[in-house]
C-alpha cells in the first residue's frame, strides 16, 4: 500500500493516529451509544465540515473498499465531492454513487433510502455528539448524567414541547436510546431517518472531530426514538410522491422553481431517485423539470 499522493500516508493519517482512532472505534462498538473521547487531529478540511467522519473513514478504509460520500442525501453536493476527491487522492480507493455497491458510505445529514446490508459501514459526520448539550452546556455535567443513565432532562424537554405545541418540536437530530442504555444524538439527520437505524444490518459509526468523540451502533441493535406513551414518535410524511421518480415514503427536498410560488418535491437521496428513473419510474414533472434538477438518468 504505497502512498497515492507523494509525501502523505495512505488515507492521509499516520499509522499512530489510525491506531488511536481504531482503538476508539472498537470501544465504541463494544459500548453502543457511548461517546468515546479521542485525540482528534487537524485535518486538511475545517472542523465542522466532516473531520470526524473523515478520520473514521480514513482509519477503517482499505484498498479493496468502495466508498460513497453523500451530503444532504446527494453525491454531488460540494462537500461530498470534496471529501470523495480527498480519499481518491490520498487512498486511491474506488468510489461509487450507488448505495448498494459501496462498502463504506460516509454521510452528512441523511441515511440512504435503500436499506444497507450486512458488511456495509455507514460513517456519520457529527457536529455536536452530545444529545444533552443544549440542555446542559457543561461536559462535566453531561458525562455524569450519562454515567448515571439520568435522562430525565431530555424527557422534560420533549414534554415541554408537547405542552406547548401539542407535539414534539424536534425535527432533526432527534435523540435515540441505543440498546436500552445510552441516549445518543443520531447527528442532524431528519427524524424521518431514525427508524432506519433500528436493527440495521450495517455497522453505524459516528465521528465528531471538533468535539473529539467517536460512537457507534453495531448491526442488529435496537435504536428507539425517545417518546411518550400518549405521544408516540412519528416521522415526517409528504403529501405527494417525488416529482421525478414518483417514490413514496421517502424524504423529499423542496425545490423552488420560480418567484410565483412554484415548487416541486424531489427525492433527497439522488442515487435512489436516479435508480428508480432508470428502472422506468416516472414522476409527474419528470418531463418538465429544469435540467439542473432532473440531471441525467445516471452518472458514474
Amino acid at each position: 500500500m504505497t502512498p497515492v499522493q507523494d509525501g502523505y500516508n495512505f488515507a492521509y493519517l499516520d499509522e499512530q493516529t489510525k491506531r488511536m482512532i481504531r482503538r476508539a472505534i472498537l470501544k465504541a462498538i463494544a459500548i453502543p451509544g457511548y461517546q468515546v473521547p479521542f485525540a482528534s487531529r487537524e485535518m486538511p478540511m475545517p472542523y465542522g465540515w466532516g473531520t470526524g467522519g473523515v478520520q473514521v473513514t480514513a482509519s477503517i478504509l482499505g484498498p479493496d473498499d468502495v466508498l460513497k460520500v453523500i451530503d444532504q442525501g446527494s453525491d454531488d453536493t460540494t462537500n461530498a465531492v470534496s471529501i470523495r476527491k480527498f480519499f481518491k487522492k490520498t487512498a486511491g480507493v474506488a468510489t461509487t454513487t450507488h448505495t448498494a455497491e459501496a462498502t463504506i458510505v460516509q454521510t452528512r445529514h441523511r441515511i440512504p433510502e435503500e436499506p444497507l446490508g450486512a458488511g456495509q459501514v455507514l460513517v456519520y459526520q457529527v457536529p455536536i455528539p452530545e444529545p444533552l448539550r443544549f440542555l446542559e452546556p457543561r461536559e462535566t455535567e453531561t458525562r455524569t448524567l450519562h454515567a448515571l443513565a439520568e435522562y430525565g432532562l431530555m424527557h422534560v424537554k420533549l414534554y415541554e414541547d408537547i405542552a406547548r405545541h401539542g407535539h414534539v418540536a424536534t425535527t432533526y437530530a432527534y435523540p435515540v436510546e441505543v440498546a436500552g442504555r445510552y441516549v445518543m444524538d443520531p447527528s442532524p439527520t431528519p427524524k424521518f431517518d431514525n427508524p432506519k437505524m433500528h436493527m440495521s444490518a450495517a455497522l453505524q459509526l459516528f465521528g465528531a472531530g471538533r468535539e473529539q468523540r467517536i460512537y457507534a451502533v453495531p448491526p442488529y441493535t435496537p435504536v428507539k426514538s425517545l417518546d411518550f406513551e400518549d405521544h408516540p414518535f412519528r416521522i415526517q410524511t409528504f403529501k405527494d410522491p417525488c416529482a421525478l421518480c414518483a417514490a413514496e415514503g421517502v424524504y423529499l427536498d423542496e425545490v423552488v422553481l420560480d418567484d410565483r410560488g412554484g415548487r416541486m418535491m424531489v427525492c433527497s437521496d439522488t442515487d435512489f431517485c436516479e435508480t428508480r428513473r432508470a428502472a422506468g419510474h416516472r414522476g409527474a414533472m419528470l418531463g418538465t423539470a429544469p435540467a439542473e434538477i432532473a440531471g441525467e438518468a445516471s452518472h458514474g
Binding site: 493519517l13 487537524e42 475545517p46 454531488d76 461536559e139 462535566t140 473529539q212 439522488t270
Partner: protein
C-alpha cells in the same frame, strides 16, 4: 445554485482556480517572496507559528502567502501540516532565565539586575501613519549599546521568590500532558491549560484577559516581567541519555504577579500567571498570563463566577481552528434539516390559525 444537483466537481475546481488567480493579484506587480513575508511581516509569522503550534518561520510565511494574509487560515494550514509529522519526543524544559534577551521590561521595579531593555517595540511610538514607508523609506541603522558587564538577567519572579513573597513553583517528574494526543477532559490540570492557552486564539484570550481587568474574575495583576529573545532547546534521545542541543527558538514570556490575600492554609503571598508563546507576541503572552491566573481560581479557593475562571468555557472555545471551522460550516447546505423545520413551522402555523378560528387559546396546558 451552489448545491448544484450536477456539476459540483467542476464548480469547485473553477472556484479554486479563481482563488489562485486572486491570490496572485495583479500579475504586473512582483510576486511576494516567502522570505519577504518572514522578514517584513515577522509578527504575523510569529502568530501563525504560536497558534499553529509549530516553530517553522518559512513554513508559517508560506502559509500566510497561501492564505492571502488570513492568519487563521494560515494557522489552519500549519496545524494540518503539523499533525502529519512524526513525533520524536519532548525536549527538555527551556530555561528562559538563560534567554538571549532582545527585550525585557518589568512594571514592578524601576530598575533591576540586567536593566530594562526596551528592544524592538511599538510601545511609545506615536500611532501616525508613516507615509514615508509607502515611498520605500530606508531606516537608519539601529543604535548599538555595550552589553552589561556580567550580562545576567535573572527573572523577576526569581528575585521575589528569594524572599518567599511569591508562591514557589517546583517541577514534578510527571511527563507533561499533551492535548494533541489525549482528548481534553475536565477538570484539566495546569499543564493542559497552559498548552491550550499557548495554542489559543490571541483575540479570544485578549478579550478574556481584558474581562478580568474589568472585574469579571479580578486578579490584581502586575507585569512582573515580559521578556523576548532566543532560548536553546535541548533534547535527550532515549539511546544516548544525555541532552543534545537542537538549536534556538524565539519566545515571549510573561510572568504576571498577582495579589493574593491568603487563606486559612496559606499566608498572604503573590501568585503567578504565566504566558509563553513562540516569537514576539507580548499581547498574547500577557493575555495568556491573565487567563492562566484566572483559571487557577479553584486552586486558591476563589469563587468561580466569571467566564475567564471557567476552565470548561475557556478551554473549549479558545482554539480558533475549531471555532472557525464550526462557525463557517454554517455555509454548508443544511436543506434537509431546513426542510424538516419548514414542514414543522407550516404545520404549527396551520394549527395556530385553526385555533384562532375556533377562538381557543393559543397554547394548551400540559394538564389538559
Amino acid at each position: 445554485m451552489y448545491v448544484a444537483v450536477k456539476g459540483g466537481e467542476q464548480a469547485i475546481d473553477n472556484a479554486h482556480r479563481l482563488l489562485a488567480a486572486k491570490r496572485r493579484g495583479d500579475p504586473a506587480l512582483p510576486d511576494l517572496d516567502v522570505a519577504q513575508i518572514d522578514g517584513q511581516l515577522a509578527l504575523a509569522v510569529a502568530r501563525v507559528m504560536a497558534e499553529g503550534s509549530l516553530y517553522d518561520r518559512s513554513l508559517a510565511a508560506l502559509a500566510i502567502k497561501q492564505a492571502r494574509g488570513d492568519l487563521i487560515e494560515a494557522i489552519f494550514l500549519v496545524r494540518a501540516f503539523r499533525t502529519t509529522l512524526p513525533r520524536f519526543g519532548a525536549c527538555e524544559p527551556v530555561d528562559t532565565g538563560a534567554m538571549a534577551v532582545e527585550r525585557r521590561v518589568s512594571a514592578t521595579f524601576k530598575d533591576l539586575p540586567g536593566g530594562q531593555v526596551l528592544g524592538p517595540t511599538f510601545d511609545y511610538t506615536h500611532r501616525l501613519i508613516d507615509f514615508a514607508l509607502a515611498a520605500g523609506f530606508a531606516p537608519p541603522p539601529p543604535a548599538e549599546a555595550e552589553p552589561e558587564a556580567d550580562g545576567a538577567m535573572p527573572r523577576v519572579t526569581d528575585l521575589l521568590g528569594e524572599e518567599d513573597l511569591i508562591e514557589r513553583e517546583t517541577a514534578d517528574d510527571r511527563p507533561p500532558a499533551d492535548l494533541t494526543r489525549e482528548p481534553l477532559s475536565f477538570p484539566a490540570e495546569r499543564d493542559i491549560r497552559l498548552q491550550n492557552l499557548a495554542r489559543g486564539d490571541e483575540g479570544f484570550l485578549l478579550g478574556l484577559g481584558y474581562s478580568t481587568q474589568r472585574g469579571f474574575g479580578r486578579t490584581h495583576p502586575f507585569v512582573g516581567e515580559v521578556r523576548f529573545g532566543a532560548v536553546e532547546l535541548d533534547f535527550v534521545p532515549e539511546e544516548l541519555g544525555f541532552p543534545v542541543p537542537l538549536g534556538t527558538i524565539e519566545v515571549t514570556e510573561c510572568q504576571m504577579v498577582n495579589q493574593f490575600a491568603g487563606s486559612a492554609e496559606r499566608p498572604p503571598q503573590f501568585t503567578r500567571g504565566y504566558g509563553l508563546v513562540f516569537g514576539q507576541s507580548e499581547r498574547k503572552a500577557m493575555s495568556m498570563a491573565l487567563v492562566d491566573r484566572a483559571l487557577r481560581a479553584r486552586e486558591f479557593g476563589e469563587d468561580v463566577v466569571a467566564p475567564a475562571q471557567d476552565e470548561e468555557f475557556v478551554l473549549s472555545h479558545s482554539d480558533n481552528v475549531q471555532a472557525t471551522g464550526f462557525v463557517e460550516h454554517l455555509k454548508l447546505p443544511h436543506y434537509v434539516d431546513f426542510q424538516a423545520e419548514l414542514e414543522l413551522v407550516r404545520r404549527l402555523r396551520a394549527e395556530h390559525a385553526a385555533r384562532e378560528a375556533d377562538g381557543r387559546p393559543h397554547y394548551e396546558e400540559a394538564a389538559e
